[in-house]
């Protein structure tokens, strides 16, 4: 009986702690929502921090720029005021919540991170998943050179589940490995008889693969 009472009390205490943790987390008071270090001293990411958390983050990590992807409104104004009060840059890049922002918006983040006078940078949106994830993805692609798979895995780790954004951001990347690895980009063997010209004699269209690199034959194209 005594054991049962102790166990019941333990279970009740555990349930109480669980409910309290859940409520605190939901109200964004317990932890910094989706906060993570992308690269120490360069780039940090999070969801929407409350004013106290933002002040603490600025102090703790020596942030010099705060980038918000939120839609302008009272929340953004409050954040601007905090940034002004603490003497750090504030950049607002409003974009849809699904993270499909414009390339020039994401590149503003890179500009801030590349500037030693403006970093470290904190990028955040509402939950720190889509918009923040997309901007960090571009940073990973452009500066760290990560593969699409690794960037997608990192986004998934930050609870992005839809799967579209890594490919969307990949299209913005200027330097991609394909040209180096896949030269020529295409090879076309024209083995079909030409429709608007009489067929030529031997050597053309005999089914053997040929290449424009060999002798610049008209029937083959390599780019």
């Amino acid at each position: 009986m005594r054991t049962a009472i102790v166990l019941t009390a333990l279970a009740a205490a555990a349930a109480g702690v669980g409910v309290w943790l859940t409520v605190e987390t939901r109200n964004n008071r317990l932890v910094w929502d989706h906060f993570d270090v992308v690269k120490r001293g360069y780039l940090y990411r999070s969801g929407q921090l409350n004013p106290d958390q933002l002040r603490q983050a600025i102090r703790m990590y020596g942030l010099r720029t705060v980038v918000s992807f939120q839609i302008p409104g009272a929340g953004v104004e409050k954040e601007r005021a905090i940034a002004r009060e603490m003497g750090v840059d504030f950049v607002n890049l409003p974009m849809p919540g699904d993270g499909f922002g414009r390339e020039d918006q994401f590149r503003e983040v890179l500009k801030a991170v590349d500037d030693p006078g403006r970093r470290p940078v904190l990028v955040h949106c509402a939950r720190g998943t889509c918009r923040t994830g997309a901007s960090v993805a571009l940073y990973r692609f452009e500066r760290d050179g990560w593969t699409v798979d690794d960037v997608a895995a990192e986004m998934q780790r930050q609870t992005y589940r839809e799967g579209w954004l890594p490919g969307y951001v990949w299209n913005m990347v200027k330097a991609r490995p394909m040209p180096e690895r896949f030269e020529p980009r295409f090879l076309h063997d024209q083995n079909l008889p030409a429709a608007d010209a009489p067929s030529t004699s031997s050597g053309e269209g005999d089914g053997r693969p040929t290449s424009g690199l060999a002798a610049g034959k008209e029937s083959s194209h390599v780019h």
């Binding site: 054991t3 102790v6 166990l7 333990l10 279970a11 555990a14 702690v17 669980g18 943790l21 605190e24 987390t25 317990l30 932890v31 910094w32 989706h34 906060f35 993570d36 690269k39 120490r40 001293g41 360069y42 500066r143 760290d144 050179g145 990560w146 593969t147 798979d149 690794d150 990192e154 780790r157 930050q158 609870t159 330097a175 490995p177 180096e180 690895r181 896949f182 030269e183 020529p184 090879l187 053997r208 693969p209 040929t210 290449s211 690199l213 060999a214 002798a215 083959s220 390599v222």
Partner: protein, 553 residues
């Protein structure tokens, strides 16, 4: 049979005269898993399930650290008496370690991956468990065999298996098999052959461990005989002849003397005790006479022998430079055998008050520590990192009932339920390793993404040249053979065609004018913001060669 009630702990215990080795099994309602594991096919299936669940499940997921990566880099090169890393002989990689990884890489198409270094170690770990369990089954009974297997597979060491923790399971397979043979059959040729295998995988330290333990065991049948020493001596002679014929004598000497450059490993004993968790505390039950008396003479000799092995390995590994690496896994194996045999005694019952107190006390401490850790750190992680929320909530939800079970078992003096609580703890540790440690390591500590970033720019299997040594884990993660140039000018003497060179930004800017000119391909930041440059010389890429080759047909 007499019954005692311990007034301090409120534990009801039963003590039996030592002549009554085992109680009638039908007297007790044995846990169904343990009962099921009684017969041989079920026992084997049980061991296979344990090995699969604790060791093989997620076997290749953890990205390799620097030590395993050196093995991986060597597996991309030709077979030799020792491995080649960055194009140079590496005396720390022995042929016995190299062959399994080479074979695995061959099965994967020729280029080693992290699986090439992680899976052979996992399989070796499973094999070691089978060897230990087989011997324990033969002298202590099938149930003890399964429990020894559980104490081996269900330890932190086998869940992780990383070389960073000092675990070399390939070498340990030879060492443990030789020690098992010594304890079971004596000092014969088979033990010598296992010792020879251990030599080929790890050099002289594992052979020294085997030789040292023969002295500590002190049995005439397990002494240093020519049968034991001849195979490793033959292996050493053959290996030396091979090494001296294909490599400089300095490399051969470096391989043999490398262990002597290590310092005494003062943290070996706490490290081994930690790696054997959650089962190591139960090995101490052998101190109880009532526990020891429950084993048949042969079984007692086996358990005490393995404890002697563990003690000798821990002492020698701590004090003698170079032996720590080779001594760690045999010490863990000895503790696992002792812990498994003691757990079997607790399940059967009939042990004295002291061992029971220790058993329940250790169970309570382990479960309370785990529950505190799971609820504290797990609660924070569940709130702060949504990626780990499911794992953490599951672990918290299961840790509390498990702790309750331990309390209940201690209150009632029920050894089987206490054992079940510890088994649950081993499962929780595996889940935490799989669900938290592995992804966290791969994301935060692994060089995988940084290496793959470089590797994706280089055609498959194309060598990457470097001007200095990079971290082995970073180099291995590129997925390409990596060669260090003696000087930049030597690039001109490498095979024809474009050559890719990975450099620091400063190296690229100061590239000698006498060396083949380079074109920048891509630049990368590292995890600290430093800059790396991948450049290439002029010349055709393999794709060009393919097309030109086809055109000239």
């Amino acid at each position: 049979m007499s019954t005692e009630i311990d007034s301090d702990a409120g534990v009801r215990s039963e003590t039996r005269p030592s002549t009554t080795l085992r109680p009638d099994r039908s007297e007790r309602s044995t846990l169904f898993v343990v009962r099921w594991a009684w017969d041989f096919p079920q026992r084997l299936l049980c061991l296979a399930l344990l090995g699969t669940a604790f060791v093989l499940f997620g076997g290749g997921k953890l990205d390799p650290g620097p030590i395993e990566s050196r093995l991986g880099l060597a597996a991309a090169e030709r077979l030799g008496p020792f491995g080649q890393v960055f194009g140079s002989w590496d005396p720390s990689v022995w042929v016995g370690q190299l062959v399994p990884s080479l074979l695995w890489a061959w099965g994967e198409g020729g280029m080693p991956t992290s699986a090439s270094v992680r899976w052979p170690a996992a399989i070796a770990g499973v094999a070691v468990g089978l060897i230990l369990a087989r011997r324990a089954s033969s002298v202590l009974g099938g149930r003890a065999g399964v429990l020894v297997g559980l104490c081996w597979y269900g330890s932190l060491a086998l869940m992780d298996r990383s070389a960073g923790a000092g675990l070399d399971l390939i070498t340990a397979l030879g060492t443990v098999a030789a020690l098992d043979r010594l304890l079971g059959r004596g000092s014969d040729l088979v033990a010598g052959c296992w010792a020879a295998l251990a030599f080929l995988a790890g050099g002289w330290p594992p052979v020294a461990v085997v030789a040292l333990t023969t002295l500590v065991i002190g049995r005439p049948s397990a002494s240093l005989s020519w049968r034991l020493l001849f195979p490793p001596a033959l292996a050493a002679a053959g290996w030396s002849a091979w090494a001296l014929s294909v490599a400089p004598a300095e490399a051969w000497a470096a391989a043999l003397t490398l262990p002597l450059t290590q310092k005494p490993a003062w943290l070996l004993i706490p490290g081994v005790l930690a790696l054997g968790l959650p089962w190591t505390p139960f090995a101490a039950l052998t101190a109880g006479r009532s526990v020891r008396d429950g084993w048949p003479a042969q079984g007692r000799a086996l358990v005490i022998g393995w404890l002697q092995v563990a003690g000798a390995c821990l002492l020698a590994g701590t004090l003698i430079p170079g032996l720590a690496g080779a001594a760690k896994v045999p010490a863990l194996a000895g503790l696992a055998v002792a812990a498994g045999a003691c757990c079997e005694r607790m399940l059967v019952g009939g042990v004295g008050v002291g061992p029971r107190r220790w058993f329940f006390g250790a169970t309570l401490v382990l479960l309370f520590l785990w529950t505190g850790l799971a609820t504290g750190a797990g609660g924070y992680l569940a709130a702060a990192v949504p990626y780990y929320r499911a794992v953490c909530v599951t672990l918290i939800a299961l840790a509390i009932p498990a702790a309750g079970l331990a309390v209940w078992a201690a209150a009632r003096g029920d050894g089987r339920k206490a054992f079940l609580a510890v088994f649950a703890l081993a499962v929780f540790l595996k889940v935490a390793h799989w669900g938290y440690y592995v992804p966290e390591w791969n994301y935060r500590r692994s060089q995988g993404p940084w290496g793959r970033a470089v590797g994706q720019w280089v055609p498959p299997r194309w060598t990457i040249y470097t001007a200095h040594t990079w971290g082995a884990d970073f180099a291995f993660a590129t997925g390409h053979p990596v060669r260090q140039l003696v000087s930049a000018q030597h690039l001109a003497y490498e095979p024809a065609g474009a050559k890719f060179v990975l450099l620091l930004a400063s190296e690229f800017e100061n590239w000698p004018s006498q060396a083949p000119p380079l074109t920048k391909v891509a630049s990368f930041q590292d995890e600290y913001g430093g800059s790396r440059v991948l450049a290439r010389t002029e010349g055709p890429l393999p794709w060009d060669r393919t097309v030109r080759g086809r055109a000239s047909e």
